[in-house]
């Protein structure tokens, strides 16, 4: 039984990581991407802890009176602490950015945000933005009866 627990837990952690990564890719909504990141980081932290895990060992705390028993490896647990702290910091920053983007662009859809950003970055750099369906780069009028309505700004 004990031989299977380690790999099983490890698979669990890897599953969490996979969910996080794939979740981030499939979602087009900014907030969902941040949530996916949270899950991914949880998965990795779990994986890191499991690197030092032993089935038949106890928590690595030396109490004065108790005899030394085989203990779990303490180092990954220390590492995980830092990793968690870093993760939280990055996630917090991500959320503030999501709020700022929502205020500035009025939308949380990644495709639209990217398109708007592209126009602004190009304007900041001084060049013209690359063509989009609304504003073709070549400046030639779009075929069809009437020009498209001006996109909501």
């Amino acid at each position: 039984m004990d031989a299977y627990i380690g790999p099983l837990l490890f698979l669990g952690a890897a599953g969490l990581l996979a969910i996080g990564v794939v979740g981030m890719l499939l979602s087009n909504h900014l907030f969902r991407m941040v949530l996916a990141l949270v899950i991914a980081e949880a998965g990795v932290n779990l994986m890191l802890v499991l690197a030092g895990y032993r089935w038949d060992a106890v928590a690595p705390i030396l109490q004065p009176g108790v005899a030394a028993q085989p203990m779990v490896d303490p180092i990954p647990q220390a590492l995980v602490l830092t990793a968690i702290v870093i993760g939280v910091g990055v996630q917090a920053l991500a959320l503030t950015l999501v709020i700022r983007i929502r205020e500035a662009y009025g939308t949380l859809d990644m495709a639209e945000v990217r398109a708007r950003m592209e126009v602004d970055v190009a304007a900041a750099g001084g060049g013209e933005a690359t063509g989009s369906r609304e504003r073709p780069a070549g400046g030639r009028p779009l075929p069809g009866p009437g020009a498209l309505p001006e996109p909501p700004r």
Partner: protein, 621 residues
């Protein structure tokens, strides 16, 4: 501090000196002095000997060394000569006119001096790495000289440097491969190892070096950049570039293909067994380079572009002669470098003298200038006779040598290609001289004067050089023989008048003497026996009964050879422009695809893609 060091030092010091001299109107007169000094120093050095240089660095595990042998000396002569003519030409009224019109004389002279220095560094290269360094310097030094005229010339310059760097990179790959395959870049070592290389390796090296140097020589597939780049540049710059700049490619080709890889190795590198070996491929590239640009020149309507296109065509003769490899052919190819440099310099200087006076180089807006600018006419006449390769001038000697070697080597189709090129040249140079100097003089050109002495002087000196080296080719053949020996080729037994050989020789002293005697007889017959001639005005002309007035433009200049164009007109489809356009659109397509990659909404997808691909690759054996 050997002679070669001195020469290189003077060329280097000439950079600031030229910039300073170009500054003041009075100092401008002395512009030609440094080049005169360099020419003197060069003539003092005996072309037969090999001049080593004191400076040599060991860097990156490579030794950089400089030495000037016969081949380098032979190419240095027209380089400094052309620079001297260009500097003298620009030091007079043309310089004031150019500076007055907002052009920067300082940059022009600095660029010219930089070009000469870069070319001397290339010509004195002691090993392959120095050759490449000199090659890159020459490629880059040409750029400022081309773009000085601004406007269209800048676009042509950018196109040139892209081609040149393409060629440069091919040469760099060749140098690196030689270093890796033979372990060294010093000629003495790698020439010993070269014969042991496999044929595909030597084939690749030949392709890289011929392609790389061919870009500078504007051989066929890479010739589109040269005409606008040289034609549209500023007056004396165009003359210098047209005369010698692209011949550096021939020097490097002679050094690498003929001396290092040797023509024998080229002959037994078969491309199509039994039918075509690599030397034939090179010869046919040269042959087509003779024909196509010459007939493109025929259709040009701008005098400068017409001459620039001829520059490309004549380059084909030089490569053809060199690749033939026998004594006569290689002598003809190398001699044509010198002859053509003088012809092209005179022609371009004359066209720019006309442009200086009339303000235009458009062949359809000139005519009848012989009455106003006789000296320029004489210079252009001697230049076109030399360019077409007709007897009294030096162009004939080098072309005769190339033809002789083609006839006796048994190459009928190559001989035919060369002759087609010559005939095309004769037709187009007549169009040049007719549209500029002959025919009806235009109303607006009636009061222009002959070009100033500072411009006609250099032109007439070059004309004298053409006539003298035409009558006594032995003078130059001596230096050509040293160059041939430097790269291990047989030397024809030459004498002052020309060449003697069992299969029919040439003696220009007698030939020119007989031609001049013939002209004398003709003159005696014409002036002695005929009645007194009456000079008439140009409008007093047969016009089928109509009365000619000045406002009717009675001149034939456009669509000059309708009969010929009826047949070959259809062939001008610009297939090479289409090829270049196709290449650019492929690059554009790829670039747009790449930019699309950087505009995708979900870049993180690629992280997952790379990881899964990596794991699969890691797990699978």
């Amino acid at each position: 501090m050997t002679h070669l060091d001195l020469l290189l030092l003077v060329a280097l010091i000439n950079l600031p000196v030229a910039w300073w001299l170009a500054g003041g109107a009075t100092r401008r007169r002395l512009l030609a002095l440094p080049y005169g000094l360099m020419l003197g120093m060069l003539l003092y050095m005996d072309p037969g000997a090999t001049w080593d240089s004191g400076l040599s660095w060991v860097f990156l595990g490579q030794s950089l060394s400089w030495r000037l042998d016969g081949l380098g000396w032979f190419f240095a002569l027209p380089t400094i000569g052309a620079a001297l003519a260009a500097a003298a030409y620009s030091s007079g009224e043309w310089g004031e006119d150019f500076a007055g019109a907002g052009g920067s004389m300082g940059w022009l002279q600095l660029a010219l001096a930089a070009n000469v220095f870069a070319m001397l560094v290339l010509l004195a290269a002691g090993d392959l790495l120095t050759l490449f360094i000199g090659w890159e310097l020459v490629s880059w030094a040409g750029l400022p000289l081309m773009v000085l005229a601004g406007g269209a010339a800048v676009g042509a310059g950018i196109r040139y440097i892209t081609y040149a760097m393409g060629g440069g990179m091919a040469v760099l790959l060749g140098v690196v491969l030689v270093y890796v395959w033979t372990g060294s870049l010093v000629p003495a070592d790698f020439m010993a190892v070269l014969p042991t290389l496999a044929s595909w390796q030597v084939g690749l090296l030949v392709a890289l070096f011929f392609g790389g140097f061919g870009v500078k020589m504007a051989l066929l597939p890479f010739h589109l950049w040269q005409a606008p780049a040289y034609g549209l540049s500023v007056g004396p710059a165009a003359a210098f570039l047209g005369a010698i700049s692209s011949r550096m490619g021939l020097f490097a080709m002679a050094l690498v293909l003929v001396k290092f890889i040797t023509l024998e190795r080229l002959v037994d590198l078969t491309v199509i067994p039994g039918l075509l070996d690599s030397r034939d491929v090179l010869a046919w590239v040269a042959a087509f380079t003779i024909i196509l640009p010459t007939y493109t020149a025929l259709k040009q309507n701008d005098a400068r572009l017409l001459l620039a296109w001829h520059g490309i065509g004549q380059g084909g003769y030089m490569v053809l002669g060199l690749v033939m490899g026998d004594a006569m052919g290689s002598a003809g190819g190398l001699l044509h470098v010198f002859n053509y440099a003088t012809n092209q310099a005179v022609l371009l200087l004359a066209v720019f003298a006309v442009m200086h006076r009339t303000g235009t180089a458009d062949l359809n807006r000139m005519g009848g200038l012989i009455v106003r600018m006789p000296l320029s006419f004489l210079a252009l006449l001697i230049g076109i006779i030399g360019l077409a390769g007709l007897p009294p001038m030096n162009g004939f000697v080098s072309k005769w040598l190339v033809y002789r070697s083609l006839v006796l080597e048994g190459e009928p189709l190559l001989f035919l290609a060369a002759i087609i090129g010559t005939l095309g040249t004769i037709l187009s140079v007549y169009k040049l001289i007719h549209n500029i100097f002959l025919g009806q003089l235009r109303v607006e050109h009636e009061d222009i004067r002959e070009a100033p002495w500072s411009m006609t002087g250099p032109m007439l000196v070059l004309c004298a050089v053409i006539v003298v080296t035409g009558t006594m080719p032995g003078l130059v053949l001596g230096v050509v023989a040293d160059a041939q020996q430097a790269i291990g080729l047989a030397v024809p037994d030459y004498h002052l008048g020309g060449v003697t050989s069992p299969a029919g020789g040439l003696d220009m002293l007698w030939l020119n003497g007989v031609i001049m005697a013939g002209f004398a007889v003709g003159a005696v017959l014409f002036y002695g026996f005929g009645g007194r001639t009456k000079r008439v005005h140009q409008l007093d002309n047969y016009a089928g009964g109509h009365f000619l007035t000045a406002d009717v433009r009675y001149q034939y200049s456009d669509n000059f050879y309708p009969g010929l164009m009826h047949h070959i007109g259809g062939w001008y489809r610009g297939s090479f422009q289409w090829l270049e356009g196709a290449l650019i659109s492929v690059v554009d397509l790829l670039a747009t695809a790449l930019r699309g990659f950087y505009h995708q909404a979900q870049p993180a997808a690629w992280v997952l893609f790379t990881i899964t691909l990596g794991f699969a690759w890691a797990v699978l054996p």
